[in-house]
């Protein structure tokens, strides 16, 4: 399958995943340009199902598309490796690898062997120039290498994972499985894990899978990963460049938006497992899950290293992505009822999550946190998540806004309870 098809499938899954069951065919056509384009994407998803045991399953609920899966990572890998390829190409690559598994061979030898085993008549004769192209692909991708053998240039397969001991392969599987589930970027780890799975005994793999499990790792972020890997590969260049991004609207009833930006950095927020692209241009940051399409525009600029460093320093001092608001000190008192539980969970959680804060223990039931941050709106959800176990002492504005919100929430939840009582 061409790369664009792969991207379209990922785009489709992302759209229907992000708005759980709110996307009808009509609303999706807007994002795909035409009904034809949408339907061909759906057909391709069905085709993957025929090839791979792990393929995304699309449901329909009240005419709305739905993608809800516990196997997002496996299905993503299924999409990556189920691309369409010509039968002749499949056969030729597989044969070349088969020959090289047995012996080191020159291009002419490979050509002869291919013709002996694949060609029925003169019209289907494969010439050595074509074989050289296949060999070049295998060299460039790192599967084979040249070897000088009695004045001839021969080719040999590189060492595979099977050159490692079984004991090490199991450890490597665990290691790569960890990064496939809990790493920031998982695509390459998933591919390595797939090849390892094939190299190890399947009973053993099943046992290992039964021993370790990963919870709440938000695998859905993988649907954006090809975009991130692509931009990261561009960021390795010495020159900066312009990207044209098509952004999803904040909700499905609004229009798509196109913007041009110079990408500088990525920022990953662990709380929501969400990526931001930090940019220069009309906007300073973009949520990567809003990017529907992207295009590199060839215009190039010198990278302003000072500007990137200064932004990095500013971002280090913010709770999340705010760079410009004035720094403020936040003082919060946390409470813990030590009589009802045997461990101070609140203190442990705060120590883990607010790494740069100063903590002052008041007594066994309370402590005070002091930290510098910028935009108080960024830290508010975190403070709110502690409910009655936290009280903001400073700044006044954050304290007042929380009191106002809690008052509203008290009224809202009282009405939810009274409605529930009426239902009964």
């Amino acid at each position: 399958m061409p790369k664009e098809d792969r991207q379209k499938i990922l785009k489709f899954l992302k759209l229907i995943f992000l708005e759980k069951g709110m996307n009808s065919k009509e609303s999706l056509i807007k994002f795909f340009g035409s009904i034809g384009s949408l339907e061909s994407t759906l057909r391709k998803i069905r085709k993957i199902k025929l090839k791979s045991e792990n393929s995304p399953s699309i449901g329909l609920k009240s005419k709305q598309y739905l993608y809800n899966s516990d196997l997002v990572l496996d299905e993503y890998l299924g999409i990556l490796i189920s691309g369409q390829i010509k039968k002749t190409e499949t056969m030729r690559y597989s044969k070349i690898i088969e020959f090289l598994m047995k012996d080191n061979l020159s291009i002419d030898e490979i050509t002869d062997k291919l013709n002996d085993s694949l060609c029925q008549d003169k019209n289907s004769y494969i010439d050595s120039r074509t074989v050289r192209n296949y060999i070049n692909v295998l060299i460039n991708e790192g599967f084979i290498e040249k070897t000088k053998d009695k004045r001839y240039t021969r080719y040999k397969l590189k060492k595979g994972l099977d050159s490692l001991t079984d004991n090490l392969l199991i450890k490597l599987y665990l290691f790569v499985d960890f990064f496939s589930n809990a790493g920031l970027l998982v695509t390459r780890s998933l591919i390595i894990r797939y090849l390892l799975e094939k190299s190890l005994d399947s009973v053993k793999i099943k046992r290992i899978k039964n021993i370790i499990c990963y919870k709440h790792s938000k695998p859905i972020r993988v649907l954006d990963e090809l975009n991130i890997l692509y931009i990261l590969s561009l960021l390795e260049n010495k020159k900066n460049f312009l990207l044209e991004l098509t952004l999803l609207p904040k909700h499905k009833d609004k229009a798509l938006k196109k913007i041009k930006v110079i990408p500088q950095l990525f920022l990953f927020d662990y709380h929501l497992a969400r990526w931001y692209l930090i940019t220069e241009g009309t906007t300073k940051r973009i949520l990567v899950d809003r990017i529907l399409e992207l295009k590199k525009i060839t215009k190039e600029f010198d990278i302003l290293i000072n500007s990137i460093e200064s932004r990095l320093n500013k971002l280090k001092k913010s709770w999340l992505v705010e760079e410009d608001a004035k720094e403020k000190e936040i003082v919060i008192e946390f409470y813990f009822d030590s009589s009802t539980s045997s461990k101070n969970f609140i203190l442990n959680r705060v120590k883990k999550e607010a790494k740069n804060a100063k903590i002052e223990i008041i007594d066994k039931n309370s402590f005070i946190l002091k930290m510098i941050t910028r935009d108080i709106n960024e830290i508010k959800p975190w403070v709110r998540s502690f409910g009655s176990s936290a009280q903001v002492l400073e700044p006044r504005s954050l304290r007042d806004s929380l009191i106002e919100e809690f008052t509203d929430l008290e009224t809202i939840y009282e009405s939810v309870i009274s409605e529930t009582n009426n239902d009964i």
Partner: protein
């Protein structure tokens, strides 16, 4: 970006022709693996000897350089507890029981005969847990963070309790409902992402609000309420009643503190 050879049709054909699985890594994957074995996590999985073997496997490879990424809000890791990962994994793989010393608080420590069932990694806490049956306490279900394990030693297993552990740890799926006021439509994606661990699905939509259904396990109640408190007015829990009551109680208590 993904090698042409990593295609199911080619991989299956190679297997058919050679009776072997293709297991050569492309230079992109080799370079990624070299980057991975130089991460902080590597030392918890590999001994120095393993690392040497991997390094010699990757000798001609240039490590992937993951630059230009800032990570925010990653929880502080308890490094010393991660050293238990491989020994505990090996004990479970080799079907050994444990004599486990663990603590519940700084002053309360226990020792118990343990049937180790699974290892669980909690992403948002960056923390490992041992799921086990306490054989000294009538096969009581236990979940202990590695950071609370003081030491352990392996002992010969008398009885395989895997099936029983599976039954004991199996949790029922419970359902909850929440609403999003249409004034917060612009935040809808963020709201759904915040609750993504609970698989939200549209239940119904009316003029002013959208109602979603979510599923959770009883052991996730605390985490679920934390997420709703985090969202505040953006997502209002409607059912089940006992969780709604806990939300209300939490806001009443918070207002008492502020007054």
């Amino acid at each position: 970006m993904i090698s042409k050879i990593y295609n199911l049709e080619i991989l299956n054909k190679i297997k058919e022709l050679t009776n072997k699985n293709f297991c050569i890594l492309s230079n992109k994957e080799m370079s990624w693996l070299k980057y991975l074995i130089n991460t902080d996590e590597s030392k918890f999985f590999f001994s120095a000897k393993d690392k040497n073997e991997l390094e010699s496997f990757l000798i001609d490879t240039k490590a992937y350089n993951l630059q230009k990424i800032i990570i925010k809000n990653k929880p502080e890791r308890n490094e010393s507890s991660w050293t238990l990962l491989m020994p505990l994994f090996e004990a479970i793989l080799e079907e050994k029981d444990l004599i486990l010393s663990f603590r519940i608080s700084d002053s309360e420590q226990f020792k118990a005969l343990c049937f180790p069932y699974k290892l669980e990694f909690e992403f948002y806490k960056d923390e490992w847990y041992l799921l086990w049956l306490n054989l000294s306490e009538n096969r009581k279900k236990m979940k202990t963070p590695f950071s609370n394990i003081l030491s352990f030693k392996t002992v010969k297993r008398k009885q395989d309790l895997y099936k029983e552990a599976e039954r004991i740890f199996l949790e029922e799926h419970l359902f909850a409902k929440f609403s999003v006021d249409k004034n917060y439509l612009d935040d809808l994606k963020r709201i759904l992402l915040t609750l993504i661990d609970f698989n939200p699905i549209l239940d119904k939509e009316d003029q002013d609000k959208i109602i979603f259904k979510i599923e959770y396990n009883p052991s996730e109640e605390g985490y679920l309420l934390q997420k709703f408190r985090q969202l505040g007015k953006r997502a209002i829990l409607l059912k089940p009643k006992f969780l709604v009551e806990r939300m209300l109680y939490s806001y009443k208590k918070a207002l008492e503190r502020y007054s």
